[in-house]
């Protein structure tokens, strides 16, 4: 009887050891799981930070590229004006003076008139190129007038009809106004070149966080997913400028039913 009791007591010791062994193992494996779980979280967080840094860096590069581009445009426009237009004006004045000379025979007279004609058209083209490079009206009269002029120009010179409604919005800088102007320009270019649109509806309005541009056309439309994945230079340009303006770009399009672009200031907290 006593022997049996002792045996059972022995067994209890083994069982207790085993029970603690099991609990120990469970805690150990749980600890291991928690260790991996938190390491994983930490690694993911670090990766996210890295990606964030990379994105900011890319954005800075884009911003620099675009501002360099604008600066170059401004410089070329200025040079066109100073170096070419001014001198052509001298040529045209001289030609005019020469025409007043009564000793000229008919042939000479015709040649000088020809020179005068060529100079005038060249002057006109150089003025137009400079104007396209940097619309002087934007500097002098602001975004609203510049956009109105742009839309009127397009409506007059192409078969595209633009209906617009523009609020007089105040942007923080001239550069930002130029970005909005360029976006509008690019949108119209895309609609005529790729979409073959015949009518467009453009709105620029104030909203709570800044402004909103809505641009709707009746062109061919496109597959948004595919175009967003590998966008051309035009769309890329719009995207970068929108990102510089801290705006969201939203695109909707159905094939054969036109497309809608919405550019809207991001909500700042």
């Amino acid at each position: 009887m006593e022997e049996q009791f002792l045996a059972i007591q022995d067994q209890s010791v083994v069982i207790a050891a085993l029970a603690y062994g099991i609990i120990f193992l469970v805690l150990l494996t749980t600890g291991l799981l928690l260790f991996f779980h938190y390491s994983r979280r930490k690694i993911i967080q670090k990766e996210l930070e890295k990606i964030g840094l990379k994105l900011t860096h890319q954005k800075q590069i884009l911003k620099a590229t675009i501002s360099t581009q604008e600066e170059e445009r401004r410089r070329i426009a200025q040079d066109l004006h100073d170096a070419i237009s001014a001198r052509l004006n001298v040529v045209s004045l001289t030609a005019n003076l020469m025409l007043e000379d009564e000793d000229l025979n008919k042939e000479q007279h015709e040649s000088i008139e020809h020179i005068l004609g060529v100079t005038t058209t060249t002057l006109e083209s150089s003025r137009k190129i400079a104007h396209d490079l940097l619309p002087p009206i934007l500097d002098k009269f602001g975004l609203k007038v510049a956009l109105e002029e742009l839309f009127e120009d397009f409506t007059k010179s192409t078969r595209l009809q633009i209906i617009y409604d523009i609020d007089d919005i105040k942007l923080s800088s001239k550069t930002n106004e130029l970005h909005v102007f360029r976006i509008a320009q690019e949108l119209i270019n895309n609609a005529t070149r790729h979409g073959e649109a015949t009518s467009m509806n453009i709105q620029l309005a104030k909203n709570k966080h800044g402004f909103i541009v809505t641009c709707k056309d009746n062109g061919k439309g496109f597959d948004v997913d595919q175009v967003t994945k590998n966008s051309g230079i035009g769309l890329q340009n719009i995207k970068s400028r929108a990102s510089i303006l801290e705006c969201n770009l939203h695109i909707e399009s159905t094939i054969n039913e036109g497309s809608t672009f919405i550019i809207q200031s991001k909500h700042h907290e």
Partner: protein, 214 residues
């Protein structure tokens, strides 16, 4: 304690059945996701084993030799589960271990058929330890990749490592007084419940959403 033990046993069986049913509900994944297929088969066979076990228990026949089939089947299926989720180098490692383990088991039973009628310690060790190692490798993989099947992996790691320890002493415990051993089987059943709950969570987080999408 004995009554509580019985309750836990039937709770485990019910949960296993629920898991099988839930996995069966997402059967449209059967063709699509290999890991799902393996887990589903694993649960189904586990249920069949449990029912046979229960039946034999009632008839009071010796059911220990069933355990050999259970360990072998568990090892084979879970090895496949990890093969599907590992990279090429790790897959090679699993395949080598797989062949070695099956070779050892086969030759042992041919040479010593007597071993079939008790807990075979070598068998418990070589069929469980590799799986624990795989689950740790899987955790390591999840650090750098998108972590998949982490619940199932956790359940395998916790349950297998603890239950292996119990089975090591299986032969010894079989000779013990039933009243004393009941505590150990109690812990084992709690662990098995945790195992099943984690598999249920896996189904909920991973497979149940698929059902809505498809």
């Amino acid at each position: 304690m004995v009554i509580l033990n019985d309750i836990l046993k039937y709770l485990g069986l019910t949960l296993l059945l629920i898991n099988v049913i839930l996995f069966f509900k997402s059967h449209n994944l059967f063709q699509k996701i290999m890991a799902y297929r393996i887990i589903f088969i694993y649960l189904l066979v586990s249920l069949i084993f449990s029912l046979i076990n229960e039946h034999m228990n009632m008839k009071k026949t010796n059911n220990l030799y069933l355990s050999h089939f259970y360990f072998a089947f568990q090892f084979i299926l879970l090895s496949f589960f990890y093969i599907v989720n590992f990279n090429r180098r790790q897959q090679k490692f699993i395949k080598i271990i797989f062949v070695i383990v099956l070779a050892i088991l086969g030759s042992q039973y041919i040479l010593y058929p007597k071993e079939l009628f008790g807990f075979n310690l070598l068998e418990v060790f070589i069929t469980s330890f590799p799986l624990v190692v795989y689950s740790i490798i899987h955790l390591y993989n999840s650090l750098s990749q998108k972590g998949q099947y982490l619940y199932i992996n956790a359940s395998i790691l916790i349950y297998l490592s603890a239950s292996t320890l119990i089975f090591f002493l299986g032969n010894y415990l079989a000779e013990f007084d039933r009243e004393v051993v009941v505590n150990i089987w109690f812990i084992h059943k709690v662990l098995y419940l945790v195992f099943l709950i984690l598999i249920f969570l896996e189904w909920k987080s991973n497979f149940s959403q698929y059902k809505i999408k498809v």
